[in-house]
Amino acid sequence: MLSDTKASPAPPPEKPAEPGRLTRLFLSLADVASFVGRFFREAFLPPYEFGEIVRQCYEVGYRSLLLISTTGFITGIVFTNQSRPSLSEFGATSWLPSLIAIAIVRALGPLVTALIAAGKVGSSIGAELGSMNVTEQIDAMEVSGTDPFKFLVVSRVLATSFTIPILTFYTIFVALIGAFINVNANEQTSFPSFMQEVFGAVTFLDIFASLFKSIFFGFTIGIVGCYKGFHSSKGTEGVGKAANAAVVTSMFLIFIEELLALQIISALRGS
């Protein structure tokens, strides 16, 4: 009797269990934290890529200047025009310069600059690094002895952290000029009087809060763009996804940071 002793085929090796959604979230958070930590470590350790940092400042800052200045100018005009009816109901159009100054310096200047930069620079960084990742240029750099993280990530994040605050001051300045043109055309307010009102409403806390906020916004745009580009999936589709994710994530984080900054500044202001 033939016994059915035929050995059954060995079961295929078990695939590691897919991590759950929560686990994936924690893993990605750990990955982001590791990426940020590596940035700070590489940023302070030599060698420093000054040439690349200057090139990135040129690309991020100077190349965005016209776009951001135009946006700021239009923002100043539009915000002034939209605020006028509310104030004129109370016969308080003379308060327009104060209102505009507070709005532009405290919120609109840093926010508009960061959002425009996130759209232009964040997507550019995500796409560029994603493309390099897809075409294995990053691996090639590593093979050739160049530290890709220092050369690609540190230089870009430093450039965005440095130039976004400068672009913010450009935006504030241009937006105030736009607001002045509108106020002057409607209320015949002179430039010295306008500036008197503007600087009467603004405080040092407002200016320095804008400065620090825009540094954080710049850092966020740079680090998110680089992270998404560095971790893009293979294939041409990955480049587009990386660019898109860089923009969406950095914009979302900018609003979160704005909300946190508002709480901190309000606490500092005592109101």
Binding site: G51, V54, A92, L167, F204, G270
Partner: protein, 341 residues
Amino acid sequence: MSAESNKRSVTVGIFVLVGLVIFVAGVFVLGGQQKRFTRSLRIMAVFNDISGLKVGNNVWFSGVKIGTVKRISFFGNSQVEVDMDVEQSSQQYIRKDAKATIGSDGLIGNKIVVIQGGTISHPEIEEGDRLQTVAALSSDQILETLQENNRNLVRVTQDFKALVGNIRRGKGTVGAVLTDSLVANNFKMAMANLEKASVNTAAITGSVSRFASKLNTKGTLANELVTDTTIFRRLSRSANKLENVASNADKTVGTLGQVSQNLNRASEKLNNNNSPLGVLLTDQETATNLRITLRNLNEGTRLLNEDLKAAQNNFLLRGYFKKKAKEDEKRKADSTDASQK
């Protein structure tokens, strides 16, 4: 480094520089506006109610911003101490008796501290001084006053309504004036009289005008009086002389006064019994004695005359009297000759 890289670095440098210039300029303008870089001194004021004043609000003196509120803290039981930094350049204008109050920058503007008053007799404020305060008028108090005004306005309008009703019904003087036909006729007559009076006034004005024109006509007495300077000069001299005469008369009257005083003093002395003349004039006994003495003297004189006549006939003195008689005759003859010549 390539030429393109150099160009890029220069562009980034300019970009960064301009951005920093905007930032630094903003900081300096803001600092200047908020007087951050000016020397200041700290003064205090204690209020019962600060009406929502906050740190950073402005301090005004005579309508000029001179500083900002630096600290707000509770003081005593329920008062509030406000520390202010004011410019040192305004120190000389704020006196120790100046008063601080809580005001408002416009109708719905920010709260401000207003320093007012102060007299030059008091020294200027110093670091750490505490100003006197005046309680500000709150919006509640303003509304309360407005409410009182409204109540008064209602009463006034009610009174006015009653008044107008009375007038319409012809009550009171005003009502009578407006409704009584007799009063209207009297009023018409009064107006007519007034018209006549105005006509008379016009005639008087014409007369005055004619008089004025005569005054301006040369040769008339009035014109001479008004325009002739010679007459005026003479009148002026006459007036001066009259003035001199009057002053002399004054002096004379003064002298006469002194004389009369002297006479008074003399008459007082005469009336006085202690003075010799007073005794002679007023004492009866002395007068009697004097009369007796005079009678005795008359008697003595008569007897002495007899004795002298007897002596003239005496042989011892007869020669002397003859010689004297001759000399008298001779003197008379000489005087007669001299008069004839």
